[in-house]
Assembly symmetry: C2
């Protein structure tokens, strides 16, 4: 088979993945647990009839969803077009995980190392409990001050030491961030808060709020910690300035509670040449 791009190595497939995180023990392979990577590698292996390795652009925890996760894997079947590969993988994947796009990349492509930014969105509904978004959007009845949250979120834009927002909770070792060669400094390209029209009908007494963040990288649990901080500010328990104090203080113990996983979505991963996510707070859902 001439399965190469002229360099003597196999081309890579870039797979865009969407999943409902509720029944996965996160994205990354962990022994025999049900993870997105394990399911994907099983599906690719069945299609290639060979063992398949994958690299994921971002790590997501249990209960965290994705609409734009990216995985790369060696392309063992350059004779198949992308649509055929997508459909063949989807019939082999469970209902809560799907490949939404398949593109070919050069042999050197690496989903994680080549990514230049990641975008996450965190959604919370403040209103009467809504069964149609159960597990897919965080829900809490107490209203939140969107303007205060937006002002605080804006303080994160730029290059900062995000040590105050790293780790926390069980299962994520505190030492994770020390393994990162660049420590806890990241560049946040976008950090905003907006309201969306609820897609499930009557908005009786509630507001759908979306926190959107895009950065060159995120520390473990960073988005959920930011969301937890924004909730405290939104409830009026802390002033907007608290966000700046946390950035300066660089102490995770000060940042309070991590927001629950169900509101979090890995939205998109950017590669060289992709347009950076806009920060227009009035943009419509899905744009």
């Amino acid at each position: 088979l001439s399965t190469n791009d002229g360099s003597g190595e196999r081309q890579q497939l870039m797979l865009t993945l969407a999943y409902d995180g509720r029944r996965f023990s996160g994205s990354q392979r962990q022994g025999s647990r049900r993870t997105v990577q394990a399911e994907l590698e099983r599906a690719i292996g069945a299609l290639w009839e060979a063992e398949a390795g994958t690299v994921f652009a971002g790590r997501t925890d249990q209960g965290v969803h994705a609409t734009g996760q990216v995985a790369s894997t060696a392309d063992l079947r350059p004779d198949l077009d992308g649509r055929t590969v997508r459909k063949a993988l989807n019939v082999r994947l469970p209902a809560d995980c799907a490949v939404t796009r398949v593109e070919r990349r050069s042999a050197g492509f690496h989903a994680r190392y080549d990514a230049t930014w990641r975008e996450y969105r965190y959604r919370v509904w403040t209103g009467p409990r809504q069964p149609l978004i159960e597990g897919l959007v965080a829900q809490r009845e107490r209203p939140l001050d969107v303007d205060a949250m937006r002002a605080a979120a804006g303080l994160l834009v730029g290059t900062h030491d995000f040590a105050a927002f790293a780790g926390g909770g069980e299962g994520v070792p505190w030492s994770e961030r020390q393994r990162e060669p660049r420590g806890t400094v990241r560049t946040m390209f976008r950090s905003g808060v907006r309201t969306l029209s609820p897609w499930w009908g009557e908005a009786a007494g509630g507001t759908l709020i979306e926190i959107g963040v895009a950065a060159d990288g995120f520390l473990p649990r960073m988005v959920r910690t930011i969301a937890g901080v924004l909730f405290e500010i939104g409830r009026g328990e802390r002033p907007v300035e608290w966000m700046r104090e946390l950035l300066v203080g660089r102490d995770r113990r000060l940042a309070g509670q991590t927001a629950p996983a169900d509101g979090l979505i890995l939205w998109r991963v950017g590669y060289p040449g992709d347009a950076m996510p806009g920060s227009d707070p009035d943009a419509q859902v899905g744009q």
Copy 2:
């Protein structure tokens, strides 16, 4: 207890309900099966510490969702405010069903007989399979011609004999419609098709289509039969004019396949004084 409105009878509670229809055997009580009515009456009974009867505005089949179902029940606790009743019921209801609003009505109020219109929405995504909407939006990869569907849907507005769109499928006896005193004639106030921005991110190669219908009443499976007809027209297998032929022919056997339950949502129920649903196809989601 002075639990009456002066007429000597108990006031009624009007409960707005939302549910995820997937794990319910429909809305209406059916022996020991898990239905929305059974769960609601159990919750009310536990709260009142007395047996509770309810009336539902609309009947929904297994797998059909609701954001604006309405139920009425006698108010045995006029000392509690609506918010307290709502919260007390929600802690007693399962996660896939919730009361989103509680209002008081006079003793004569009847959720079904007093309703002047019902609005349903049917949603279908034509694109790569999306796990985050699995079971909540119908999914099919083949594209649909939205303009043709919209033209055909518009033909339903007005007072017509909808016999061609009644019943079908197992479990709904053909005789259902004969029990209706007014036969199969209904007045359709609104019937439209529009596209929505997908709320789950990247719209890679797909379109989110919503069929919206509002009428003074619907025959069993009528919305799903209309959706099935619109899909055939949208796929180009039938001309727009077929819709008119079906209305005139009044024969259910001609209308083809019933669309699956997962795309259907009982959106709202209208009572005297409520504004009729608008027909603006450019309106945003949730409005």
